[in-house]
């Protein structure tokens, strides 16, 4: 296990270096002089020359990249062109909202997809099975922005049950208020705000994971040891929940872990639809304002976070399943 961990860690470093390089090069592809964008149309040539010098844009590109990496390692991604504030600070301010959304979506995925997959697998080729298969197929094909818009149409505009934009006080801070003042109102309000965006974000993952649980479960239910368990006279519930489920969920754990990246990608669109003040909206706003330090910093931050989570998923899977370590 130790050796495997070291090996995986060594693969991790070049990936992060590659992420930095790709984002750096991409932003340098932008036509036009960044200094010109920064001084604006009223800037004098002297202003431009000064900004160019201050930003180090007159140095050779490889050196600029080196400096960028050196600063990035210390958490310094420069300053936002529009807001003037530190990019890392903007990212960290937006992060909790996105994590809240991703975490809720992950919970929804597990709580809905796993039972759905089990029920489908236990009743193969029945109406129930076909129903959940069709649902899963539609879910995989449905663009999440359309799901989001339909959800707003139904639950906000038609029924008026849930708000269609904003975050409210936020779930974690609301729990803080709950403990200090005993008021449940904040928690309730936050949950109401989070429900539609989280469901929108989770929908595709639910479909994917349900399909996976179904096929993993079907495979396991046909194995000899399950037949033995049944032959022993165990109740079907016990066979499924105690014996089959544990083995069937093994591959599911990895996929659910890897969904984190998918969810962060989906957050870019979900947060835009629901005006959710997270990382995704930060990126989209930065793109529309051509605020390149913010784009650069937040994209690198997101990719690094996903790489770390994927690394942890890999390591935990190797921990659960010894076969992987020696492959």
């Amino acid at each position: 296990m130790f050796q495997y961990t070291i090996r995986r860690l060594f693969l991790f470093i070049p990936v992060i270096a590659g992420v930095l390089l790709i984002v750096f090069v991409t932003v340098r592809l932008v036509p036009g002089d960044p200094a010109a964008i920064l001084v604006g149309p009223e800037g004098t040539p002297e202003d431009r020359a000064r900004i160019t010098r201050v930003l180090g844009l007159d140095r050779p590109l490889p050196l600029q990249f080196g400096i960028y990496v050196w600063r990035a390692l210390q958490g310094d991604f420069g300053r936002s062109i529009f807001l003037g504030s530190d990019v890392m600070k903007l990212v960290l301010t937006a992060l909790p909202a996105t994590l809240e959304l991703a975490f809720l979506a992950l919970m929804m995925t597990i709580l809905i997809a796993v039972p759905l997959g089990i029920v489908a697998a236990r009743n193969p080729n029945t109406l129930l099975d076909y129903g959940s298969t069709i649902l899963a197929l539609l879910g995989v094909s449905m663009p999440l922005f359309w799901f989001g818009v339909l959800a707003i149409l139904l639950f906000s505009l038609q029924l008026g049950w849930l708000p269609s934009f904003g975050r409210g006080p936020g779930i974690l801070p609301a729990f803080g208020t709950l403990f200090s003042s005993g008021s449940l109102a904040g928690v309730w309000l936050s949950l109401k705000h989070a429900l539609l965006p989280a469901l929108t974000l989770a929908f595709g993952s639910i479909a994917l994971v349900a399909r996976l649980v179904r096929s993993a479960m079907l495979e396991v239910l046909n194995l000899d040891y399950v037949r033995t368990a049944r032959a022993k006279g165990l109740s079907e519930r016990r066979v499924v929940n105690k014996h089959a489920l544990r083995n069937a969920l093994l591959p599911v754990v990895t996929i659910v872990g890897l969904q984190f990246g998918t969810l962060l990608g989906g957050a870019v669109i979900t947060e835009t639809i629901f005006a959710w003040p997270g990382l995704g909206r930060l990126v989209v706003n930065a793109i529309s304002q051509r605020d390149f330090p913010v784009i650069q910093g937040s994209v690198i931050f997101i990719a690094t976070m996903i790489s770390i989570v994927n690394l942890l998923v890999d390591l935990s899977y190797a921990f659960i399943n010894p076969k992987i370590r020696y492959a």
Binding site: L11, V23, V30, P143, W146, V149, G265, V268, I287, V299
Partner: protein
Amino acid sequence: MRRSSILQRLARHAGAIVGGIIILLVVVAALFAPLLAPYQPEERNIRNRFQPPSSENLLGTDNFGRDTLSRILYGAQVSLTVASLAVGLAATIGIFLGSLAGYLGGIADMIIMRLVDVFLAFPPILLALTLVAALGPSAFSVTVALGLVYWTAYARVIRSSILALKSEDFVEANRALGAAWPRTLFRHVLPNAFGPIIVVASVGMGSGVTAEAALSFLGLGVQPPTPSWGSILNTGLQFLRQTPYLSTFPGAAIMLTVLGFNLLGDGLRDVLDPRGTS
């Protein structure tokens, strides 16, 4: 002989048939949009804004009084063109780098596969967004961006089939006979890897259609007034209170198209995968 039997098996696959019919309908809609559309897609009629579906405007009208059905039909052109060019670009890059990795092995293989890892570290839509931001919003940028984002799957497929083939006798024999590598690649490796590549490409068309719509939805794709499913949907979201139809129909078009490609991809996988047939 073998290819016709694949087609025959595909013709018996219910999902593949449904998927194929859906794709055919969308392709016909795109090709014959000028004939099928009742109005010009950019024709405005301010007095006829936010109309619900009626006999004059089967799917209603938008904020400029433009006919939604006509715009969706023309939107199919944008959607399919961008997605298929992006898939073509992704397949070209992926096949090139993947065969280099598989053939050369060693350090080249390691570098290319690390590059694959790097690209997989980004959520696809986020990387596409960043690339489009750098290139400037247009249909061309979206195509290039999606091609650069989705090449990794092709590289992996082609690399693994080359690794599997490298030790085969006929490839050895070819080399012994002095055949040049490109010739071996085109004559033997690619035809053998054709199955998995076509599966990846079919599902990739679905992802391409979704991603193009997503970027247009965010205002970074095809620029107005050219109709795109994503941008019609975005307008629909802005005017959700005035007309719920404007966001409903383009979304349905996207989902149906993606469903078609997914069904066809699943069918192809079932038919082509030797494990599935045994």
